[in-house]
């Protein structure tokens, strides 16, 4: 009986069912993989966004772990404060056992790409500069989905969002998003992080493995997870896993990890890697690119981004 109970507790979902996310939500798939891999000895600070809104409508909560939401931009700094408290407690622990118990607790901050690439970036930089032992997870759905799919610093080239809408005009504005997607992984590496990784919601087992590595890393680590958004990407609710996998398979969004500033693992693409068309055409946010010459030119450019990734990371064959 006792052992059965124990088994149940280790298998339990750390995010309880009954949340209010869209059916098929990529972020929820990723967040569940993250939470279950983190387990019980963890404190989470969450940024404002879909994940917060869909899981904590007062007085309910889906979180089976200690969880705090403060503001949009400060999940990192909130987690710094939690870390400082644990560090203080560890230094003042009265017994070895108590110290051990406190040392086992991981501090995690998480947010969407808006919270990470844009509004919260300064605070993340501060947290990394302090070399604090915190895992930061970015669920990257490439737009401000919670507020109605506005463009963020993570929105890719050519994507139609409500603030980078595809149009009928003649200026560059008509193609949708036309800003350079911020390279957060490079920024993380530039801060000297010991563990930096990228994966997708289509690879839940890979997410779990990466969380386990991040847990073992001393100091800050960063994991960015491409998380398809059903309404934002204009896909069907049964397509989020598929589309996330396509992002990796085309080379547009390579699954990889850097340990101590070295690229140590990267998922290979097939011999003749899938063309980005396969990834773009099932998403409504890129639909306009297939309609005219100018759009097709953008697809070519997007293909060149994927080709460049494959070449640079040596993930072809």
């Amino acid at each position: 009986m006792k052992s059965k109970q124990k088994k149940q507790s280790t298998n339990k979902n750390m995010i309880a069912p009954g949340h209010k996310a869209c059916a098929g939500c990529g972020q929820m798939i990723a967040a569940k993989a993250v939470a279950n891999a983190l387990g019980e000895d963890v404190i989470i600070a969450n940024a404002t966004g879909c994940l917060e809104v869909t899981t904590t409508p007062y007085p309910q909560s889906s979180w089976r772990m200690p969880w705090i939401h403060s503001l949009f931009e400060n999940a990192s700094a909130i987690s710094s404060g939690i870390r400082a408290t644990l560090d203080y407690k560890i230094k003042h622990a009265k017994t070895k056992k108590e110290k051990q118990k406190l040392e086992n607790i991981k501090v995690v901050a998480q947010g969407g790409d808006g919270a990470t690439f844009d509004i919260g970036f300064g605070l993340i930089s501060g947290m990394w500069e302090r070399k604090e032992n915190i895992i930061y997870i970015c669920y990257n759905n490439e737009a401000y989905s919670n507020t109605g799919i506005q463009a963020s610093g993570a929105t890719p080239w050519g994507a139609n969002t409500t603030t980078s809408p595809a149009g009928s005009g003649s200026s560059i504005d008509a193609i949708g998003s036309h800003q350079r997607k911020k390279d957060m992984l490079a920024l993380a590496l530039a801060h000297g992080l010991n563990y930096v990784a990228q994966t997708t919601a289509g690879h839940p087992q890979d997410i779990a493995n990466k969380i386990k590595k991040a847990k073992q890393t001393k100091g800050p680590s960063y994991i960015q997870i491409l998380s398809p958004c059903i309404p934002g990407w204009k896909i069907k609710s049964n397509q989020s896993i598929k589309v996330a996998k396509l992002a990796a398979k085309t080379g547009l969004y390579p699954v990889l990890e850097y340990e101590n500033a070295k690229l140590t693992n990267v998922m290979k693409v097939e011999d003749n890697p899938l063309k980005v068309d396969e990834y773009l055409k099932i998403q409504g946010r890129f639909k306009h690119l297939f309609k005219n010459k100018r759009g097709r030119k953008q697809i070519k450019y997007i293909q060149s981004i994927a080709d460049e990734n494959i070449k640079k990371l040596e993930i072809g064959k």
């Binding site: 963890v42 409508p57 969880w67 939690i82 203080y88 930089s125």
Partner: protein, 388 residues
């Protein structure tokens, strides 16, 4: 008793209060406080975690996180820094975190100024913090210790306001209670009922509230801030008994009435009363001694507003002059508005005249106080700026 810079007096007090996490970002004129606290740590005289923040927004967020995990915390700021923190300040109050911040009061840009007024603090008066204002070093020491007691008892944040430069950079004789006495006065961890983030007992903090819940939560916060006035009075009485004799006074022409929320200094039956907060009250007290029928009310606690106490003193007084070192641009001095509101509530006959003084570090001289006293007896109008 030691002769100390105001900032150092506060730093020593904080050290003796023994916070577990401090985070701050430098801004004039708050700097000496946070420099001292960093030095204590570097010299092994204190054991708190001192987290270097990259902005005031981060500093406020870091102590919010630390408090949510169960630490006693501290930060200090000024002016632009306080405004940059403002989003977090509202959040801290709403989450009922017992956080203490010192604001070294300074004017707000533009034009940029590093000198004292109260525009920073009054601008965030609606954030849900208990707000103390200190007249001098000893009072600021007292208010910091009281702040921790009240915050941890009620799960409410408290801000102690001290006039930039006038108090932070000046020297006065001051008595700093020792750590063991403070420990006895403050609550034990086990006696607080703050909710904490702890893997042993997982809770969710900062959930979002639909229209079905939001209003009652805000109403409860308001009610708890209102009723904190009684707790402040009680704790102030205890504090005085334990730590210091009541009012070692400046000039002692009159005996002060002080209940922790306000202090009244002046004759028993005044015709004119000045109302002010912070260090300028020292100057006003000097002037009060030159008159027979003039007194001064020092607002020590600005939020919750000590309406009852002020009403009881001014109800039979003919002229009331309210001094604001800030202004609600397009309206008038915020403290004057509060006093006018209580006049309306209690249908008082007193004439209330607001004066805007000392913006951006303009010295408030005895002559100005004299002019205010005579102007308050004349025709009343909105907002008289006393510039010289």
């Amino acid at each position: 008793m030691q002769i100390l810079e105001g900032s150092r007096a506060i730093a020593y007090t904080i050290k003796n209060i023994s916070p577990e996490v401090i985070s701050a970002y430098p801004i004039t004129p708050q700097t000496h406080i946070v420099e001292d606290l960093a030095q204590f740590k570097a010299d092994d005289k204190a054991d708190y975690e001192y987290v270097l923040a990259e902005s005031e927004f981060a500093a406020a967020s870091i102590i919010a996180g630390a408090s949510s995990a169960g630490s006693r915390v501290y930060s200090a700021t000024s002016s632009q820094g306080l405004l940059l923190m403002s989003e977090v300040l509202f959040n801290i109050a709403g989450m009922r975190l017992p956080i203490i911040i010192t604001c070294a009061n300074r004017g707000v840009s533009a034009p940029i100024t590093i000198w004292n007024d109260h525009q920073d603090a009054v601008t965030i008066r609606d954030a849900g913090w208990i707000m103390f204002f200190a007249e001098n070093h000893q009072e600021s020491v007292q208010q910091h210790i009281l702040a921790y007691k009240i915050a941890e008892k009620l799960n409410l944040p408290v801000m102690i306001n001290i006039d930039g430069y006038i108090l932070t950079h000046s020297y006065e004789p001051v008595f700093i209670p020792n750590a063991s006495k403070i420990k006895k006065f403050l609550l034990k961890k086990a006696d607080t009922n703050t909710k904490l983030l702890d893997p042993q007992k997982p809770i969710t903090m900062g959930a979002f509230a639909s229209p079905n819940y939001y209003m009652e939560i805000r109403q409860k916060l308001h009610q708890d801030i209102m009723t904190s006035a009684e707790v402040i009075k009680n704790e102030y009485e205890k504090y005085i008994k334990i730590f210091q004799p009541k009012n070692r006074d400046h000039n002692n022409k009159y005996k002060s009435f002080d209940n922790g929320l306000i202090e009244y200094y002046g004759p028993p039956e005044p015709q004119t009363i000045l109302i002010a907060k912070g260090s300028v009250v020292g100057t006003i007290k000097e002037m009060v001694d030159n008159y027979k029928k003039v007194g001064v009310i020092k607002v020590k606690v600005y939020r919750p507003f000590p309406e009852e106490e002020i009403k009881n003193i001014i109800k039979k007084v003919k002229n009331v002059a309210v001094l604001d070192k800030s202004i609600s641009l397009g309206q008038e001095g915020p403290l004057a508005l509060d006093v006018k509101a209580l006049k309306a509530t209690y249908e008082l006959k007193s004439k209330i005249q607001g004066f805007v003084v000392g913006l951006g570090g303009r010295d408030i001289t005895q002559k100005m106080i004299k002019d205010i006293i005579s102007l308050s007896q004349k025709q009343s109008s909105k907002n008289i700026f006393i510039c010289k």
